[in-house]
């Protein structure tokens, strides 16, 4: 017997969308590259000198070499690992904070809501870049600082969305029904309401992911990013100087790699929204 959960239906719709499938494959491919690189199976020797300094792209080195004669392709791959890890870690930090605070604010209302609303109003009224820079400075820079800084700034939006949605769902009869059969707050909130707002988390994550990747590039460019590892941001930063020597391949490699994954996440985010958001169903 076939049973259609809403998820199944949604993903069914999703996979009929060619763009979404292509984007999904790209995301999977990037994730694989990132995992393989993290396991040390590929691009582990990115730091090795493989040829002369600043060699242009060739059959041997598709993206050429950098100033130290390192293979740019390996650096791009290594950068993929960094970028994906930034996206992932940011989500892992931002989602629990955003979801829990948003859910509590929306569900309990009253002073809990006041407090949490105050917290995110405060956070969102300070320019993001200020928070990003100061947090990375406090934590002493590096990858961990980037994770925390991006995580600490990106929960706000999710929190606001979840709060609004939980407020809406709280009034729905199925939640009251759960109350009527004796379900406590915990059950109502986590078992009933949250599964019904999960689509928001998924959509938000796919979009947040690419924002995190872009932010990492900007932070690295400002000298606050990853240290001692080739991230796309540091590569673009390097390229700023190298362009003058006609060395464009490092910029091109990093920009291209970033473009493809950001584009994929954007398209996927749109497709997810179209297929998961019950409001848009059947359009």
């Amino acid at each position: 017997m076939k049973n259609h959960s809403l998820w199944r239906d949604a993903f069914g719709r999703l996979f009929q969308d060619k763009w979404a499938v292509a984007s999904f494959i790209i995301v999977i491919a990037y994730s694989l590259v990132a995992i393989l690189s993290a396991m040390g199976l590929i691009a582990y020797d990115w730091a090795r000198e493989v040829g002369g300094s600043n060699l242009p792209p060739s059959a041997e080195h598709y993206f050429g070499t950098d100033i130290f004669g390192r293979d740019v392709l390996s650096k791009v791959i290594r950068g993929t690992q960094i970028a994906m890890s930034v996206g992932l870690a940011t989500s892992l930090i931002a989602i629990p904070i955003g979801v829990i605070l948003g859910a509590f604010a929306g569900y309990f209302g009253g002073w809990v809501d006041d407090l949490i609303t105050w917290l995110y109003t405060t956070f969102s009224s300070i320019p993001n870049i200020m928070l990003l820079i100061s947090i990375t400075m406090i934590l002493g820079k590096g990858l961990f600082a980037v994770y925390v800084a991006l995580g600490a700034t990106s929960w706000v939006n999710l929190c606001r969305l979840i709060r609004g949605e939980v407020m809406k769902h709280k009034e729905r009869e199925y939640v009251q029904a759960a109350g009527a059969i004796g379900g406590g707050h915990f059950r109502k909130l986590f078992k009933h309401i949250l599964p019904n707002v999960t689509h928001i988390i998924i959509i938000n994550t796919s979009l947040q992911f690419q924002i995190a990747i872009k932010s990492e590039v900007i932070l690295s460019y400002l000298g606050l990013g990853v240290q001692g590892e080739p991230s796309w941001g540091t590569m673009i930063d390097d390229a700023k100087l190298e362009l003058s020597r006609g060395v464009w391949w490092q910029l091109a490699g990093a920009t291209l790699a970033m473009f493809v994954i950001v584009l994929a996440f954007n398209l996927l985010g749109d497709a997810l929204r179209d297929s998961l958001d019950p409001k848009l169903k059947g359009k």
């Binding site: 009869e173 009527a180 059969i181 379900g183 599964p195």
Partner: protein
């Protein structure tokens, strides 16, 4: 000779979706003569609305396709019209009223503007002329202070007024044909009655033809000349209204006629479509007398029983906030000093229009909403102030069934998850399997198949969902159940089935009900005692039969009058 105004011939409408092709309208033919009203009756999904949209040319392309058929309007085939030609007809010669007045008006434009808009495009009136005419029309459809009301936005009007605005909009260009798609379904009975009267009056005045679509034969009886009954995309019966009501030929039609609770009779259970025909559409020979009339009243009076619930001076209020710091400045009393008692095994019906406080009362009794003052004594125990933990235990005994079967089930849980959840919460049943077995037993009892238990709510129809809701409420074997408008959102045919089910279950489990509804006929059918609620108070309370026969309050009388008689039009015709 007069050819009919609209003639639908062999119409077929198909929907092409990713799941395949579904035929929503199959070879449907009917005529609407000049100046006559045709009622199209059928349950949701029978293809009646699709037919009307096809006439309007409003089907969503490219999903909807019309491979066959003709829609002749004044002998011209509308299906061959291009967009511009269609637009010239729409709103001008054929206009339409929709089911949901709440959402069918544009919320950000003044109602006057929205009426004037059609006049400006079709009648080429200036803004001023159009506005003046709009006010006139609003007066005609009975909106009080039309000149002022025209400046209002839809949300500032009541549901009935909104529907009147929709009607004004529809008749603004003196259409030859008015299509009314379930125009009263979303309204309270009293309002429904007024709107029907209005439509009938206007139809006569404007000498329009009308195509009236509904799931409720009772509604149509008052105004239709001819009736077309649709069942599963097909026309199953086509006849003069009088004939249909007296000598219906198709079993489905018979079922529809029989399933509406009638104020006069007091049957033990209602007839349903399935009494007349099988799932496959084969007629079942039936002995009406066997099932029909049974006076249940005596039977239940016989069981003298003790009091289960006593409500004393209950008040529930909502704060009105104001001031700079959002302090509560006043309270709105949704339930205002309500008292009653309810005996074990009995059913108390609460009737009233939307906003009278009946729903709040129901929820206050269960303490889903905290009452402000008063007492709720359940089984001798004052539960007005019991703590959360005790309340949780009480929930096993007291349950509620909500109105909307769509929103009261969590869309992300399967039926078995929904049904076993109460058991999990209260730790009833030893193992997972045991709980599942208990759920299965009840699923069968409410008339569903156990194979369907792994499905999700959206895979069920409205009636089936309501059965799931009932099953969930009964999982903990409660003594007392509040049914809050539990059948109001259902088609009449389904409504009858659910009502029967509720009665059966009451008998089997010895349940005590509070049955909340705006429909007096339904309450009359199911309840032993009826309370009429108005503005937060119970204004009249008595045995159901007595209320019907001998209403004391004027308001109660209005409610009673509003109930469609379910006969061919008689009374109204004389009205005009």
């Amino acid at each position: 000779m007069t050819s009919p105004l609209l003639s639908v011939k062999n119409l077929v409408v198909e929907f092409h979706t990713s799941e395949g092709i579904t035929r929503a309208v199959n070879n449907v033919s009917f005529d609407i003569p000049q100046g006559k009203t045709i009622g199209i009756v059928g349950e949701s999904g029978s293809g009646k609305s699709v037919t009307s949209l096809a006439v309007m040319g409003l089907l969503q392309k490219p999903a909807a396709r019309i491979p066959q058929g003709e829609i002749l309007f004044n002998n011209q085939d509308l299906l061959k019209f291009n967009d511009d030609q269609l637009r010239a007809v729409r709103g001008n010669q054929i206009s339409m009223i929709f089911q949901e007045p709440m959402t069918s008006l544009n919320p950000v434009f003044k109602v006057g503007d929205q009426i004037a808009e059609s006049l400006r495009i079709h009648k080429k009136m200036t803004s001023k002329q159009a506005w003046a005419r709009a006010v006139e029309l609003m007066n005609q459809v009975g909106i009080p202070k039309p000149a002022e009301s025209a400046h209002k936005y839809p949300h500032e009007l009541s549901g009935g007024q909104k529907q009147r605005v929709m009607i004004a909009m529809a008749i603004s260009c003196d259409p030859k044909l008015l299509i009314a798609d379930e125009p009263t379904t979303a309204l309270d009975v009293t309002i429904q009655k007024q709107v029907l009267d209005l439509l009938f009056k206007l139809q006569q005045e404007y000498k329009m033809s009308m195509m009236f679509i509904t799931h409720d034969l009772g509604v149509i009886g008052d105004i239709a000349d001819d009736v077309v009954v649709m069942y599963r995309s097909n026309v199953v019966e086509k006849n003069k209204a009088k004939e249909v009501f007296t000598t219906a030929s198709h079993p489905y039609t018979k079922g529809l006629l029989a399933c509406r609770p009638k104020l006069g009779a007091n049957p033990r259970r209602l007839l349903t479509v399935s009494d007349f025909m099988t799932e496959e559409g084969v007629e079942i020979p039936i002995d009406i007398a066997k099932i029909q009339v049974f006076d249940k009243q005596e039977e239940q009076d016989a069981k003298k029983s003790e009091i289960l619930l006593e409500v004393k001076n209950l008040v529930t209020q909502f704060p009105i906030k104001g001031g700079i710091f959002g302090k509560t400045v006043d309270h709105f009393k949704a339930v205002n000093d309500v008292s009653f008692t309810l005996k074990k095994g009995q059913t108390l019906g609460l009737v009233g229009e939307s906003g009278c406080g009946k729903t709040t009362l129901g929820r206050s009794i269960l303490r889903l909403i905290e009452p402000a003052s008063g007492q709720i004594i359940y089984n001798g125990q004052d539960i007005t102030n019991v703590r959360a933990e005790e309340l949780r235990l009480l929930r096993r005994k007291m349950q509620i069934i909500f109105q909307d079967p769509y929103s009261s089930l969590n869309p992300r849980m399967t039926v078995s998850e929904i049904l076993t959840e109460p058991l999990n919460i209260h730790n009833v049943g030893g193992s997972k399997n045991e709980r599942l077995d208990m759920a299965k037993a009840l699923v069968e009892k409410v008339g569903l198949k156990t194979q369907q238990m792994n499905r999700y709510p959206h895979e069920f129809s409205g009636g089936q969902r309501q059965r799931i809701c009932i099953a969930r409420a009964l999982m903990l074997r409660p003594e007392f159940v509040i049914c809050d408008e539990s059948v109001s959102a259902l088609d009449v045919s389904i409504q009858a089935q659910v009502l029967n089910l509720l009665l059966d279950l009451q008998q089997e489990f010895g349940l005590t009900y509070i049955f909340i509804s705006h429909d007096l006929s339904v309450v009359n059918f199911i309840a032993d005692e009826v309370g009429v609620m108005y503005a937060g108070k119970i204004i009249e309370m008595d045995k159901a039969s007595r209320i019907y026969k001998n209403p004391k309050e004027e308001y109660t009388r209005t409610l009673l009058k509003a109930i469609p008689k379910g006969d061919a039009k008689t009374e109204l015709a004389s009205l005009v």
